[in-house]
């Protein structure tokens, strides 16, 4: 059998990754197994075994990655305590006069809930469980009522604290605090673009959302949970962001402080028991294992990619062809969207960081801006068929008669809004960089 060159091995490893993923091998194992096979081709077997089997502990034993489980448990407490309810009710009261007011309220409640929970799926499930039945009762189009919960959930990936931004920051060796600030304006821009699109559609097509008279009166929306939820989430968000930017604690420590704040707010309530707290910790432990198992596989892949030299060969190629930055970012955008259609959030990010980061570094791209762009594409991937994890999450809390194609039909309009947002972020990087540069300096 002819021996593979280093570059051929690199390409074969990537093909193996995609093949195994399509065969439904867990993504973490697909990445790790392919990485090991690549290392075994390039190194003597004992060296390959030693290199790969040390990764799980070296990777897990990380102070930086502790932020991931800490924010996950904070989100789990917030979800189990039902803190989304009051927020949605307040937004519903304030925005019910606008065309598609309940859908717009769902969108902004998703943004606010995401700001405290940090998890797209948790946001979609929590907001969808509340908002979808109310919108359907008010006569909203099922495609709009479900798609808005799927898309509002994606805002959590950008608005801090964002778990994808933490993971990107660690892997790309960028400041997580700077990334958090950089995500705020694009997150809000996306929320307002969604709101504008919903209002315009509902203004021109009355069948999508009946005007206020058919919507449930404000009293229907109220219950005992309303007021505390309105106050609880902003308090947690202010504690986290205030603490980070005043230098009181690091982004990693913020997860622990935020968790304690969420517990202190939730525990005095009658409907949040100690067993709910234990269940929240168990949820977070499983989510951590699930996410970081993928990250460990990707870390193995990064090591193998470094051995093959493929990322650097790609960088050389881009430099030799004198590819303009615009062409490069558009080409990468296409790749991210395609990967996002078939891979999960962390799969896309970890593959792109492993393979493409050296290319962008070589061409002096701002890696903070790039992180936001990658997370935006991941966010778009969360609502793009055929995988669209957030769409599946929205389906899981929607009535049975609403099919996946119906939700995807509603999502198409949000993707149109995303084209506008991405054009702004790609064309005007200062939208992303202005806020972190103001706070931290250039």
């Amino acid at each position: 059998m002819p021996e593979l060159s280093q570059l051929e091995t690199g390409i074969a490893v990537l093909v193996a990754v995609l093949t195994l993923i399509f065969l439904r091998v867990p993504v973490g194992l697909a990445l790790g197994l392919s990485a090991f096979l690549g290392a075994a081709v390039l190194l003597p077997m004992p060296a390959a075994v030693s290199l790969m089997t040390r990764v799980p502990y070296e990777f897990a034993a990380s102070w930086e990655f502790a932020a991931v489980p800490l924010f996950l448990v904070m989100g789990a407490v917030i979800v189990r305590a039902g803190m989304a309810e009051g927020l949605f009710q307040l937004a519903g009261r304030l925005l019910s006069g606008l065309p598609g007011g309940l859908a717009i309220a769902t969108n902004f409640a998703g943004a606010a809930f995401g700001a405290a929970s940090g998890s797209s799926l948790a946001t979609t499930v929590a907001i969808g469980r509340l908002a979808t039945p109310q919108m359907l009762r008010a006569g909203y189009d099922p495609a709009l009522a479900t798609a808005v919960t799927a898309c509002a959930g994606t805002l959590a990936a950008l608005i801090p604290p964002s778990i994808p931004l933490i993971v990107y920051g660690i892997l790309a060796e960028q400041s997580v605090a700077r990334l958090f600030l950089a995500g705020i304006v694009p997150g809000l821009l996306t929320a307002f673009a969604y709101a504008l699109m919903i209002a315009l559609r509902c203004h021109f097509n009355l069948a999508l959302a009946p005007r206020k008279s058919r919507q449930p009166p404000a009293d229907d929306l109220e219950d005992e949970t309303a007021d505390w939820g309105v106050v609880a989430l902003p308090i947690i968000a202010i504690i986290i962001l205030g603490g980070i930017y005043s230098g009181l604690f690091s982004p990693g420590q913020a997860g622990a402080v935020g968790t304690v704040a969420a517990i202190l707010i939730a525990l005095p309530r009658k409907d949040f028991q100690w067993r709910d707290l234990a269940a929240a910790f168990a949820d977070a432990a499983r989510q951590t294992a699930s996410i970081l198992f993928v990250a460990i596989g990707a870390f193995m892949l990064t090591r193998t990619m470094a051995l093959t030299g493929l990322p650097f060969a790609l960088a050389d190629l881009v430099e030799a062809w004198a590819v303009s930055p615009l062409v490069l970012i558009l080409g990468a955008s296409l790749l991210f969207v395609l990967l996002g259609m078939v891979l999960d959030t962390f799969g896309v990010m970890l593959l792109s960081v492993a393979v493409l980061l050296p290319v962008f570094e070589r061409l002096d791209f701002d890696l903070i801006w790039l992180g936001i762009i990658i997370v935006k594409y991941i966010e778009i991937g969360l609502i793009t068929p055929p995988v669209g994890l957030n769409v599946f999450a929205a389906k899981s809390v929607a009535p049975d008669q609403i099919s996946l194609p119906t939700i995807f039909r509603g999502v198409v309009w949000f993707l149109v809004a995303e084209v506008f947002v991405m054009a702004c972020l790609l064309g005007f990087p200062s939208i992303v960089l202005w806020l972190p540069n103001q706070v931290f300096g250039v």
């Binding site: 065969l23 091998v25 075994v49 897990a60 102070w63 489980p69 432990a285 294992a289 995988v387």
Partner: protein
Amino acid sequence: MSKPSQQARLIFSFGEALGALALCLMVAHISIDVALQALIDLPLRGTSEIVSEIYMPFVVFGALAAVQDRREEIRVDLVSIILPDRINAMLDRLVQALVLVAALWLAWHTGEQALRAMMIGERIELGTFAVASWPGKLILPFAFAFLALSAAVRAMRP
């Protein structure tokens, strides 16, 4: 559910509980550290080392088998939509066999590393005192062995 399956699930729940407990201790430890730093400018010594080398391995690997058992692992169900149920079931068994082999292999190698660390009494020196760090390594072979068990249980389920 068969009795062996129930017993296996107890083991997975135990792992999950270990992960949740480590996470709980980690939240408490870091919060106390932040509070002491803010109030009396005297943080707990060695917090980052203890978090990274002791709590984190338990948090990351404790619930690994429970994730697999509950089918919560991250994977892409793209081909399953177009393939017939019989092929999907066969494919799932093959994947579980692959998980089983890989998990056993990792359990063996991480077990060797953990034993070595335990034999030499690996620890973190924190100035005037030291904390044993080998327990953090010991969770890995158990977690991967539990993962192998959960793959076997899942492959045998009808």
